[in-house]
């Protein structure tokens, strides 16, 4: 049996070059499905990954009660001081609480591509910000000096928006700001611009902060920290673990992208399945006499069935490899920016991961198998005599 399968399958495959036209239909069709599926999922994956890297479980972010994002929140200076004094907040060697009361403003910066202006986050941070977020690594220049109109920019922001090179000056709020440093991180802060919170408050003539981020002595102290603040009748605040906060911000867009990938990919897969069926039917019908001859000289039905399956599967897998390869070649690592839940830009990179490639190959295998099933059955079921006569 195995020898029969092998023999017929090899004969079958050897004849593919002579009918490359129909075979290409399967390959190209499936390459399209897998390419689109993987590219859109790579986008969802890259976005969620960037947002998931933002924040740590042992940090908490405090907003005004009822506001779901920093931009909509307002906190008075007194409130920020109460939060800094709450139990469970980590202290540095000198006994200062590791907290940052932050001001979030938006500045318009032109996109490098196309030049339209985009909402970029200007985050005014407190003096402990560097201790609070050790994951931000300075890669060029220096941090800003307190009290001066200086800013440091995230590397992703710098790649995506123009006018914020090291040393360049940006004029807004009736004064020039100088870019004095660049920092890198693999989270959404890399899409932001940071400066001294007091200077930002002054420049925007504001006296309210937007959020307070604190480092806790340990992640398990979050609940007591939260209870302390929410049970204080003089405060109306919303306390979240940083990880939960960013997961909430990214959930909607992540869901939409995943949904688009599966719906569009699914519809395309149905189309490709019809194409595969078409090709395999014509492949089988072109070999009607050949198959009947094989059966007449004693080959069983199963090897013929398997040979059709193998052909359609191999063509589908070739398509999947091409599709995944193209997606990886063109899109892996591409920087994309979009509006996040905070109404400001997040820059992220498409990630074509091995997991996604395997998913694409699985889809292709299913299409290939289904596409081969009915034609294979038809080939085997046909009475030998009829087939030999060419009816």
């Amino acid at each position: 049996m195995l020898r029969q399968i092998l023999a017929i399958t090899l004969i079958n495959l050897a004849s593919i070059p002579r009918r490359w036209g129909p075979s290409l239909v399967i390959v190209v069709g499936i390459a399209g499905v897998v390419g689109v599926l993987i590219s859109v999922l790579a986008m969802a994956h890259g976005f969620l990954d960037t947002m998931a890297h933002t924040g740590r479980a042992d940090r908490a972010i405090v907003l005004r009660g009822g506001s779901n994002s920093e931009l909509a929140s307002t906190l008075s200076r007194e409130t920020t001081l109460v939060i800094a004094d709450a139990p469970g907040v980590a202290k540095d060697a000198d006994g200062h609480a590791i907290v940052s009361a932050e001001v979030v403003a938006i500045i318009d910066l032109p996109l490098r591509q196309g030049g339209t202006s985009a909402n970029v986050t200007l985050r005014g941070v407190g003096p402990q910000a560097v201790a609070l977020r050790p994951e931000l690594a300075l890669i060029a220049g220096r941090w800003f000096q307190p009290g001066l109109r200086e800013m440091v920019v995230g590397r992703s922001a710098q790649q995506q928006f123009s006018g914020i090179e090291l040393g360049s000056r940006i004029a807004f709020r009736d004064a020039d700001w100088t870019v004095v440093g660049v920092f890198a991180s693999d989270d959404s802060h890399a899409s932001e611009v940071m400066a001294d919170s007091e200077v930002v408050l002054g420049a925007y003539r504001r006296n309210l902060y937007q959020s307070v981020t604190v480092l806790l002595q340990s992640a398990s102290l979050f609940d007591s920290f939260k209870t302390f603040l929410t049970s204080n009748p003089r405060l109306s605040v919303e306390v979240s673990r940083e990880t939960d906060y960013y997961a909430r911000l990214s959930a909607r867009l992540g869901k939409i992208l995943t949904y688009v990938a599966y719906v569009v990919g699914g519809i395309m897969a149905v189309g490709a399945l019809f194409g595969a069926l078409n090709t395999m039917y014509s492949a089988v019908s072109a070999r009607t006499v050949e198959i009947a001859t094989l059966r007449a000289i004693g080959f069983a039905g199963t090897p013929i069935l398997v040979s059709v399956f193998v052909e359609s599967l191999l063509l589908a897998l070739l398509g999947a490899l091409i599709g995944a390869g193209l997606a990886w070649l063109f899109f892996n690592g591409n920087a994309v920016n979009t509006l996040s839940g905070n109404f400001t830009q997040v820059v992220f990179h498409l990630q074509v991961t091995p997991g996604l490639a395997i998913l694409g190959i699985l889809w292709a295998a299913v299409i290939g198998l289904l596409g081969g099933l009915f034609p294979a059955m038809r080939a085997v079921r046909r009475p030998v005599v009829d087939a030999l006569r060419g009816h």
Binding site: V25, D108, T279
Partner: protein
């Protein structure tokens, strides 16, 4: 038309193949309809925008307020007909998931700057005379079952009362329609004065000014004049026409256009192979048939037309099915794009794409048939 039965029987001489090809093309056009529909719905706002309206926002970012004191200065710029203003309220109804596109506006001028908003005059009057009055779009009113006379509480994500409370009470005094762009019927407008008096911070600030021009052609000059007036002041402005304003907003979400075009490109590239292959095979099998047609006196050009006609029949029929399916399923997308009907121009675009597909895939076999020598093909050489 006389040859329709001939085309029809030619198409169906291999039933399975034709059905499967048809099904693939139907699926491709279903996807085309849905994706182009989303694209068209997003750019609809851009195309419908009027050039005789300018938007003045803070140069720093549109989330920054501008002082109300700028109003009279903008009004005095030559060529300005009238100026209205609005702010972003960030309201939601009962649950943050029920987001409401709500704006405080100066009712007496706002609605005359937007003549396409159809609000009965007595309801506009009621809005002006009711401090807590609000007018809502017909679609929004349907969503929550709101009627005139209803008392509606909204919460704001941004604005609080001095006590820190973010509950705002409104009385619905009117319901408007906006036939040019139904997606705008999700809006909720209320009195700026009520908003300004009751908010805890930011008093006297507006989100943006809408400037109506006497002559749209002077737009760029007037925009520059407004920005020049506030240059080097603490509140510098950026003035754009409605099209630029809408466009810059949409582009921030990312390049939807590119995404849609890339997917459709991949789909149609694959489809080109599929349909081309079907046509090629189908014609190759019927070469003797075409030789007989030629023997009967059909000219070279006539058989060429027959083959192209067959391709056209296949592609256009399938695209009609696909686009019809897209029209039926499009309402599912309402929550994403705000409109429930597939824009009609997508249908026309789809048909022209189908015709193009037929031409590209039908031409090679058609030319082959045109060149056929009768003797050779009949004798099977």
């Amino acid at each position: 038309m006389k040859y329709f039965p001939l085309l029809w029987s030619g198409l169906w001489c291999k039933r399975t193949r034709t059905l499967l090809t048809l099904a693939s093309i139907v699926v491709a056009f279903l996807l085309f309809g849905l994706l182009q529909g989303v694209n068209a719905a997003f750019s609809h706002g851009v195309e419908e925008s009027r050039l005789n309206r300018l938007y003045v926002q803070s140069r720093v970012s549109f989330t920054e307020s501008l002082p109300l004191a700028q109003l009279s200065q903008i009004e005095s710029v030559a060529g300005v007909e009238q100026v209205a203003y609005a702010h972003w309220f960030g309201g939601y109804y009962q649950d943050p998931k029920n987001f409401v596109f709500s704006y405080p506006v100066d009712a007496d001028r706002f609605f005359s700057v937007y003549p396409e908003i159809e609000l009965p005059p007595d309801q506009l009057k009621a809005l002006i005379n009711t401090r807590t009055g609000a007018v809502v779009g017909a679609d929004l009113a349907r969503t929550y079952g709101w009627k005139i006379g209803d008392h509606v509480p909204l919460k704001s994500q941004i604005w609080t009362h001095p006590g820190g409370n973010s509950d705002w009470e409104f009385d619905i005094v009117g319901i408007f329609e906006e036939p040019v762009d139904r997606s705008q019927e999700q809006s909720f407008y209320f009195n700026f004065k009520y908003f300004d008096e009751a908010r805890a911070f930011g008093k006297g600030g507006v989100g943006w000014y809408v400037v109506q021009l006497r002559d749209a052609d002077q737009g760029p000059g007037i925009a520059a004049a407004i920005d020049a007036r506030f240059a080097n002041s603490p509140d510098e402005t950026k003035t754009q026409n409605e099209k630029e304003f809408t466009q810059s907003f949409l582009r921030q979400f990312g390049d939807i256009n590119f995404l849609v075009n890339a997917i459709i490109g991949a789909v149609f590239f694959a489809l080109l192979f599929l349909t081309g292959n079907t046509m090629m095979q189908s014609i190759r099998e019927r070469i003797p048939d075409f030789a007989i047609l030629k023997t009967l006196g059909f000219s070279d050009d006539a058989v060429l037309t027959l083959v192209l006609g067959e391709a056209l029949l296949l592609c256009v029929t399938a695209s009609l099915f696909g686009l019809a399916a897209a029209t039926v399923t499009f309402p599912v997308m309402k929550s994403v794009v705000g409109v429930a009907r597939l824009p009609p121009q997508v249908f026309l675009e789809g048909l022209s794409v189908a015709a193009l597909l037929a031409l590209v895939t039908g031409l090679p076999p058609a030319l082959k048939v045109r060149r056929l020598a009768i003797i050779d093909s009949l004798s099977g050489r």
